[in-house]
Symmetry: C2
Subunit: 883 residues, 2 copies
């Protein structure tokens, strides 16, 4: 029928969402598949649009249709509007095509009037309940339909309570509620200038109109603007029979999950109350029973309910979160939806359902949010424990840890040797502190961003870290840290959560990572599906082993500078940097060479059979020297005191050298391949160490293909010259060892210029690895250390940027350059291997982007490897590409 | 004739370069137009290719052709090979298609032997000369043709001089030279294992073969590799009659320019020697006469010469630099080429020649190198004065100045007030030093790059400046500056050259800018031709007036931060920055508003009728605060001394605030529109000041269209919000004043992300101005302050980069992004106005690029406006685009 505007639930289905709205289509679908949904009908969105088109008038035809539907409802339920003994009561709710929760109006218990309220009192044997329903109905109807300010009703309730000297609404008895009903009707009469309508049909028509009107209330309009929902759609209206769980011991109400949402176990999980309404559960007056107890109280209903649960899971192919009511032995489902679950449950449910044949493996892969996996891979604060943070910094490295405060790396090391757990708390960390970071459970700094030294080192070690916690006033002399009025001393215990940036005083209960069999199964399925490779960023043999455990099939970024930072090497590195001439520099490099070679041998052994991409030295050399500020203070004091001219001379000299190497913008300074081009001996040493390590491995019968990565290339000539240097080193090692080996030379693409000229650069490259951290910095012109925790906070709060571009790859800007570079690179060299090694390599949205533009692999920190494997699989399921 | 390989000069012309080589075609052309070139012939490049194709054998046919040409030569010259009285002598020279100066071999005086040398002695009446020619010939022939190491000949000469106890070659008399000839022949016989050939034809054929062979000598091969000249081309060989200027008083030799190359005056300019060879001029034994004196000595030859000069200018349509010889009253031109000239001469010659009708205006525009104009626009060191620099820094702002050394801005100001000229010498400058820079003649710093504070401020003021002169050890306490062993004190005079970066001790003569009538004419022609607009970067009314004088038709960049830096405002600016709350900030801004308004009024008045682009505040706020290092030293000392706890507290507080604002990479920090978004009140104040100034101007009956430029936009939302702020300020000023006015809002495109998303950004922009300084920094990932004078030096020395990308726009990388942004911007908004305001706006190559990609204007410092006008005109002449 062309002009049909009203549909009984049993006439619709899930596909009619546009006409019936989301809720209406859902109720129709539930009815269609045989679920015991309280009967009802839906007034369509088309009726709403027509209503507005005609100047907010309900046509007689629509009224007739509604009345006809009402008649059918009476037939189906065996209840009648206006029946004084067993009246039909309905709810009237909005239901738009796109969910707009709480934005539009609802009226419950419609149909109550001075007569039918008595019928409700009788069948519920609860006069108080009946009059409470009635006064609520008048209040809701008065507010929503008649536009009476709810303040008047609230005031009347308050007055009543005061006069009876009671505190809570629940203390009002039936008599009081009856008086309130009379009072409420007077309020309506006075404020709305009309009597509260006693005629249920009139109530219904007015309520439908009010719900239509609520489509254009202020908050709904704003909501639509924000969520970009077209204004012309209109809302449907759902009229549904009210059911009551408090009509005797054969009635009840409850909520249940079809599986345990906490751990995923396949068993009903929920609560049940006999002879009660939903409100009673919420009010907490009575303690609900475990859902299993329903079997004792209402065995046949329980039987029916479990069967329905199974039906629901089959139909919706997912765990359902169900609200139900039993009215005089009859089960009604009020709502069913996909159940929220923990990460552990999500994994178990997805795998189990696939094994049960409910869903296929691809679907199972899509069922788990990769970002959620992070919860499972690190220790975390027990979510059951509601602790209040004393401060909040940046979530620099995930995981949580408790320990005693120490302020110096040496103290951390001593404490660890004594078996004490400590958190290293510092304004910021430097290479000098590495041994302290190794020894500590976690690191907390008051300065620095997500790429500060502390953050990068901690992430590399999989150690939790909070940086840039500017509320902390750290006094290294007094050995105290002050937050607002609280003063913490060395030895006091704190807990930090590197996933949220929160800092807690004292110990907070932590829970350990949960790695189930299903977890392994899911990731195995992911590996079967995904086309992107997943490698890890690892700088040490230990990291490499961890990466392999987590399923990495190679190292995408091995940063050699971290090898320069360990305490025993730093003096040699400084000797090299401060060398007065090339000969002195060569002597220092000769000492470093075997150390580096040993590092590489360890990593190669751990990754036997997999590729290892090694980036040659990247940071500016001044990062390895003492801080200019500290030296300046020392020199100032030595000058002032004048008691140690020799030391003063030394320090002045060092200060001069540090100053000469210091830079205005180190991020854009003398680093990356610029070091290799200006001082080739450093890269030469590194390349030689790598190739000698290769020879060692070959002699052990192991397989290894090193990929040597030249950082920060912006011009083809840079890569050309550095490639020549590496090739020369390789040939020398082959000559001295008599062994032949293969290797690759490529570059990190991390400058806009490299992207724009990628075709020229590709002529000298076997591979590109996108360094999206630095590429984001240069493309946006953001210094990450200065932006995060500073102006970027405003940018994200005010939605100037949709996301933090250091966390989620900016597809529009940075992504466009990455895409350009990939295309230009492959146009010049079709077999060019393409990967990404910025932190985006561990972010699901960014991984999807890498998949879409055809990269070969992503590389991320070892702890994010499982996330990346799952995200890569999801990308392939959603957008299949050839393997 | 298909197989013709030998061409008399009179058979060829300038178009036969590929066959005859550059020199051969040139000699043919000179012959063709009737110039008295010593007759000769050319063996073609085809002959050379055939020679190599046949395994380095000269075919008989080629020999026959050469002998036939020789016969014709004898006929033309009336001289004969082997003639004992008036022998024909020839030179044999290489002549490739592309000039390879000095790479291949030459033999002079070929034809001399034991007999003909006597003829030469007779006709020159100079036996010494004849035998000197002969011994030179044997030496050259021995070296080039017979491959005898020249060491043997040199040793023989040395031995001879020692035996005669003389020092110079010129002291060897005829007898000695005769003995040397005998000696040389023995050397040849001994070393080449064959006798020196007496037969001139044999000499000739061997010499031709040797010149062919020299195509493949080592240095020629390398030269071709570097200059990308194909190896297969081969060289031609030119055989030309020798002429002698020392055959009596009717002979002579000289060089002359057809116009004065120093000032461009249209009169012969050069030198002449009677009865002399070219060597005599070089040796400096005799003083040459002014060319005009030739009229007395050889009147008819002089007459012929002046006529020829006129013919040459007509033919080559340019000033010629001519070498000539008169042999027994007959004038020969040995060489003619375009004459090198000074900038002033270039301008005058180009304009005069166009006025004479020799060239058209477009050609005249192409005749002047725009970069050369710089010489004319600043005082410079007198090129006649050869001073030796004591140190060299970066050429940060062109021009030269002398003055007494002062080390403090206050001292500079005092000195200027006393009428003394000073050079401000500092490690680096800060906003506190502005008044000192204003007062000084020039600025010299030991630290900082081309965009350091000193450099930017000095360029803006058109004041000369040398930065980053790291050889200087400046001791501010002792008030000395030490360079190597030289110690200069305050008050000592130095001279700096900001065009070269050189520093001189004492005064060096300077010459003033030379702006001739021709200069104005040329620029007027440029304006008629060019399609690119030329604006200036100007921050003050004074700069704006200067820009207008130099022909700018608008201001493309007015930097508002320089207005914040003057001494009277800095305290208010600091008050604003350090404000404890928004109310305090507003109070400080309210004080700044009228000051800014006053600045804008001045600039608008100066530019009446032209557009003015004003950039809102750009630098990070910490640039306006005291230096962290200085504060740190102060605090350290106050702590140590403990005698002023109150001051210590204050300073500690300030240090804390400065530290909180300090950044790791200020270039990529909290600056540009990030300031406007986080602290909108600053931009709001600036916009209001601009619009109030507009109203003032309108009330004065002046016309003004301000273009408000939002800096450092990377995301469309940034511009969208800042545009809203500006529009709101405009509406408020319109409301308060009751005046309506127009304005534009646009953005500086200086981040790669802005280029990539230019279409989205253009939706909110009336114009784009490319800030190529910062765009180069972010695209390359170079901090200019850290790169220039540091690693960039290596990069340029080793040709890793072809040019300094901060001086010449990098078309491949940065340019590609600019092009992309221009295209994307115009695709979204076809009427988008596009300009460039980085320093590249004053560089000719970069201006050409802007022209090619269709920008509307360039903007540069006032002093470079003339350069830009000329460069823009040249770009249009070379690549015409629609006006």
């Amino acid at each position: 029928m062309e002009n049909k505007h009203v549909y009984m639930f049993y006439e619709g289905n899930a596909g009619m969402r546009e006409l019936l709205g989301g809720k209406g289509a859902n109720l129709a679908e539930m009815t269609r598949i045989g679920l015991p949904v309280p009967p009802g009908f839906t007034v369509s969105t088309a009726a709403c649009r027509e209503y507005f088109a005609r100047g907010q008038v309900i046509r007689d035809e629509l009224r007739d249709e509604v009345l006809a539907a009402l008649k059918k409802l009476e037939e189906v339920t065996g209840k009648l509007f206006e029946d004084k003994t067993n009246p039909l009561l309905v709810s009237v709710r909005s239901g738009a095509v796109f969910s707009m929760p709480g934005m539009m109006d609802t009226v419950l218990n419609l149909g109550l009037n001075d007569q039918t309220v008595q019928g409700l009192a009788e069948i519920s044997a609860n006069e108080r309940f009946a009059y409470d329903c009635y006064r609520r109905f008048i209040q809701m109807f008065g507010d929503v339909v008649l536009k009476v300010d709810h303040f008047y009703f609230e005031k009347a309730i308050e007055d009543k309570k005061r006069s009876l000297n009671v505190t809570y609404d629940t203390e009002l008895d039936a008599a009081a509620l009856k008086e309130l009903v009379a009072e409420f009707k007077k309020i309506v009469s006075r404020q709305a200038k009309k009597e509260f309508p006693q005629e249920p049909v009139e109530q219904l028509m007015l309520a439908i109109q009010a719900v239509f009107d609520s489509w254009n209330n202020q908050r709904a309009i704003v909501y639509r603007q924000i969520h970009k929902i077209p204004d012309h759609l209109g809302t449907a209206v759902n009229v549904q029979t009210m059911v009551f769980g408090n009509l005797g011991d054969d009635s009840g109400t409850g909520v249940a999950f079809t599986r345990n949402p906490a751990d995923g176990t396949k068993q009903l999980y929920g609560e049940f109350l006999v002879n009660a309404q939903g409100e009673d559960v919420v009010a907490g007056i009575r303690t609900p029973l475990d859902i299993a107890k329903m079997a004792e109280h209402l065995p046949s209903v329980y039987q029916q309910f479990t069967e329905l649960c199974s039906l629901l899971e089959k139909h919706y192919r997912d765990v359902q979160d169900i609200e139900f009511t039993v009215e005089r032995g009859k089960l009604y489902l009020l709502q069913t939806r996909s159940g929220k679950r923990t990460a552990a449950a999500a994994v178990k449910i997805a795998v189990n359902m696939a094994e049960e044949g409910l869903i296929d493996k691809k679907e199972a892969l899509l069922r788990v949010d990769p970002a959620q996996l992070n919860q499972l891979l690190h220790r975390r604060i027990d979510p059951a424990h509601k602790a209040k943070a004393i401060a909040k910094g940046l979530p620099a490295s995930p995981g949580a840890a408790s320990g005693q405060i120490v302020f110096e790396a040496d103290d951390a090391e001593k404490a660890a040797a004594d078996g004490r757990k400590v958190i290293l708390v510092r304004p910021e960390t430097t290479p000098d502190d590495i041994h302290g970071i190794v020894a500590a459970e976690g690191v907390l700094t008051s300065r620095g961003g997500m790429t500060s030294h502390a953050a990068v080192v901690a992430r590399g070690m999989g150690k939790c870290c909070v940086t840039g916690c500017e509320e902390l006033k750290i006094d290294l002399t007094a050995k105290t840290v002050t937050v607002k009025d609280m003063v913490l001393k060395e030895g006091d215990i704190i807990t930090i959560d590197g996933s949220t940036g929160e800092v807690f005083a004292g110990t907070v209960p932590l829970i350990a990572p949960e790695l189930s069999a299903e977890f392994s199964t899911l990731l195995q399925w992911a590996d079967e599906v995904k086309t992107l490779g997943v490698r890890a960023n690892a700088d040490t043999p230990e990291d490499a082993r961890k990466a392999r455990e987590f399923g990495a099939t190679g190292i995408g970024l091995c940063r050699t500078e971290h090898m320069f930072m360990s305490q025993d090497r730093l003096p040699v590195v400084q000797e090299m940097i401060l060398a007065k001439n090339e000969a002195a520099r060569e002597r220092a490099l000769a000492k470093l060479l075997p150390m580096q070679q040993n590092d590489f041998e360890g990593i190669f052994r751990a990754m036997d059979g997999y590729p290892v991409t090694i980036r040659l030295l990247d940071p500016p050399l001044h990062e390895f020297l003492p801080s200019l500020e500290e030296l300046l203070v020392e020199v100032t004091l030595l000058r002032e005191r004048g008691d140690n001219p020799e030391l003063l001379r030394q320090k002045e000299n060092l200060l001069r050298q540090v100053r000469a190497l210091s830079e205005f913008n180190p991020m854009l300074g003398h680093r990356g391949c610029r070091l290799g081009l200006v001082t080739p001996s450093i890269y030469k040493m590194q390349a030689t160490a790598i190739f000698r390590a290769v020879v060692t491995l070959l002699n052990e019968g192991k397989s290894v293909v090193p990929e040597i990565m030249i950082p920060l290339v912006g011009h083809e000539n840079e890569l050309k010259l550095m490639r020549e240097l590496v090739v020369k080193a390789a040939e020398e090692v082959m000559a001295e060892s008599g062994k032949r080996f293969t290797y690759k030379v490529g570059t990190m693409i991390e400058l806009p210029r490299a992207c724009v000229t990628a075709d020229r650069i590709a002529a000298h490259a076997d591979f590109f690895s996108f360094g999206t951290n630095d590429l984001t910095q240069t493309t946006f012109g953001y210094s990450r250390d200065d932006a995060e925790g500073k102006f970027l906070v405003t940018y994200l709060q005010e939605k100037i940027l949709p996301e933090n571009p250091f966390a989620v790859l900016d597809r529009e800007g940075v992504g466009e350059l990455v895409k350009m570079a990939a295309e230009k690179g492959r146009s010049a060299r079709p077999d060019l291997k393409l990967g990404i090694c910025g932190e985006h390599g561990g972010d699901p949205s960014s991984i999807e982007f890498c998949h879409l533009i055809g990269l070969d692999y992503v590389s991320c920190s070892p702890f994010r490897v499982p996330i990346a494997r799952l995200a890569a699989a999801q990308a392939q399921v959603k957008n299949p590409r050839e393997k």
